[in-house]
Symmetry: C2
Subunit: 359 residues, 2 copies
Amino acid sequence: MIITKPTLLVNEKIARTNIRTMAQKAKKAGVLFRPHMKTHQSAEVGAWYKEEGVDKITVSSVDMAIYFAKHGFDDITIAFPYNWLEASQIEALAQKVKLNVLIESAESLEHLATHVRTKLNYFIKVDIGTRRTGINPNNPKLIHSLAKSTNPDHQLVGLLGHAGHSYQTMDKKKAQKILKESQKAFVKVVAELGRTDLIISYGDTPTCSLLDDFPGINEIRPGNFVFYDLMQYGFGSCEFKDIAVCMACPVVAIHHNRKEIVVYGGSVHFSKDHINVGGKRNYGLVVNLDESGWEPSDNSYMSKLSQEHGIISASKEFLNSVKVGDVLGVIPIHSCLTADVNGYFYTLDGQFIPMREKR
Amino acid sequence: MIITKPTLLVNEKIARTNIRTMAQKAKKAGVLFRPHMKTHQSAEVGAWYKEEGVDKITVSSVDMAIYFAKHGFDDITIAFPYNWLEASQIEALAQKVKLNVLIESAESLEHLATHVRTKLNYFIKVDIGTRRTGINPNNPKLIHSLAKSTNPDHQLVGLLGHAGHSYQTMDKKKAQKILKESQKAFVKVVAELGRTDLIISYGDTPTCSLLDDFPGINEIRPGNFVFYDLMQYGFGSCEFKDIAVCMACPVVAIHHNRKEIVVYGGSVHFSKDHINVGGKRNYGLVVNLDESGWEPSDNSYMSKLSQEHGIISASKEFLNSVKVGDVLGVIPIHSCLTADVNGYFYTLDGQFIPMREKR
C-alpha cells in the first residue's frame, strides 16, 4: 500500500493471535470471554473475534451496542452506567438482542423499570477499587435496593467490576493482589444479596493479560489487549511483539541542530495521551517500519504533538538515517484513543478497516 | 433540541461575533485576515466567515484544503510543511484554486519543482521562536537556497511564522514582545533576500486576540479565536463570554461521599488536553446550561476522563443541585481537539453542523 498521510496500521496476524490467546486462556480458566469492543469499534475486527468463537461482547455506549447489533452480535453488555436519556434507544435495542445494562442506584433501576418496557438483564456495577463509579460493596442498604426491579422483565443477573486501578506498572503478583481485592468486593455483595447464581464479571487488560486463573470470576471483559500499545507494554501487560498497531507518518522536515524530525502526524492522529519516560513526555516510540511490519529501533520518540505536527526527538544515528519524504513508524501510547481519533485503519496488506461512524 | 448523549454545542452568535471582531480588527490594522479553519473544519462555519467578507483561508492539511476548495474557497494556504507524498493531490488542487504551500528546505523546494507541475505560490516557513519547525532566520545559506524555484511556475510570495510560544499566560505586553521578536526574525530574512514585496504572514490566537496593531505584518492567521476555550481563557486571550463552545453531558451517577458526579462524556468527546489549576488536572469547567446558552457556575470541574466516563469534582452546593438524568454543561479545554474528536456539533437552536469527514 502507498502511504501519503498519517495512517494507522494494524498487524492483523498479531491482533488475531492476541484474540486467540485470550480466548484460549478464558476457556482453560473456565470463564466466559466477553471482550470489550471499544478499542477497535469495528465490525471487521469483530469478525476476527467471531472466528475464535466469541459471540458475547462488551461495549461502552448505546451507540456502540447498536452498531455491533447491526453487525451480527446479539448478546451485548453496555459496560457504562444506564443513561436515562437513552431509554428509548435501549428499549428498541433490547427488543432485538439480548442486552445487559449496568445499574448502580435505586433511582436508575426505577427509571429503567418504568422507561424501558421490554425484557433485559442488568448487572450491579461494583466499585472494586478504581473509585471511578459503581456501588460501594460496604453499603448493604444500597445493595438491597438494587436486588430486584419493580419491572418483572428486568432481571438482576450479575455483578460487574472494572479494575481500572491496574493501569500502572504491573507484574503477576500485583495483578493477583488486585484480582483478590476485587473478589473480596464481589463476595461481600453476593453475601449481602444471598445469591450464588450471579455472574461475576471482571475486566481490564493488565490483569487479564498477566493472570491465567480467575478464581471466583465467571467472565472477563478485556478490550485493549487486541492491539495493546506502548502504555500497556510499559505496564508489563504484553511483550513488544504483541503490539498490533503502529502509526505511519511522513517526514516533512528535519532539524539537525536540535536532533528533531517533524512528521505529519499530530494530536488528531495520535490523541494526546502520553507516558513519562525519564521525566520526559513521550507520545509514541519510533520503530523501523517495512512492508511486513515493524521492529524496535532505538530510543527515538515523539516528544511533542500539535494538531497535525509531531516532533520526534531522535538519536544521532536515527536522525542521520532519515530523509524528508520517508515514512516513519510510531507505536502509539494508547491504541483505543488513537484508533478513535482516526476513525479507520489499514491492515498491513492494505485492507481498509472502517470504524463505527460517530454521527 | 433534545440531548441524549455527549453533544458539542456552539453558540453561533458568539462565534459570529468573534469572527466579526477579528475581521474588523484586521481591517482597521491594515492586514489581510486569512483565518485558520482547523478549529471547526466545517463548511457551514466557513460560510459565517464568508458573510464577514473572508475569502482567503488557512488550513493545516492537504485534505482540509481539498474539503474547503469543494466548499467554495479558492485561495488557500496550507500552513504545514510541504509533504512530498501528497505531491499529486497538491498538483490536482493547485489546478483548481490559488494555492500557497510552505517550504523550509532546499530539498523540498526542488521536490515541489519537479513533482508539482502547475502554478502555485510558496511561503518560506520561518521559525519565529516556537522551535517547532521552520527555518532559522540566522541561516543565510538556507535562506538563499529557498529564494527561487527551478520551476518558473512556483513563486516565492512571502514568509510565514506561527507564534506557538504564545500559548501561555499572556497579557498585552507579553504579546507585544512576541510580535516584536517575530518581526525581527522576519526582517532578517527579508534583508537577506533583498525583497520588500514579500507577504509577512503571522498567526496564533493569543497575540492576535490581545493586540490591535501589527506593524511589519501583512496578514494574520488566527484559528482558535472563533470558538476560544478554557485554555485560551486561561492565557488571557478572551473573556469568558467569548467562549463559543460547550459540551452537554448527561449525568449517569453521583458519588456524594467523594463529591463526584459521573457524566457520559469522556476522552473520545473532550480529547485528553487539560490544564493545571492549583496543582490539579482540569479537563473542563462545569457551567450552568440552559436553552439560551451557559453561564459560569462555581468551581466544579472535570477532574478525570476515561474513554466514555467523565468525573466531575463538584462543590457541595453544585453536587446537591444535580440529579441523575440531568444534562451538565462543560467548557472544554481545547476547542480544536474537542471539535475534532466529535466530528460534528450543534448550534444552540439545534442546527446540525457536520465537520470534514476524516476517511
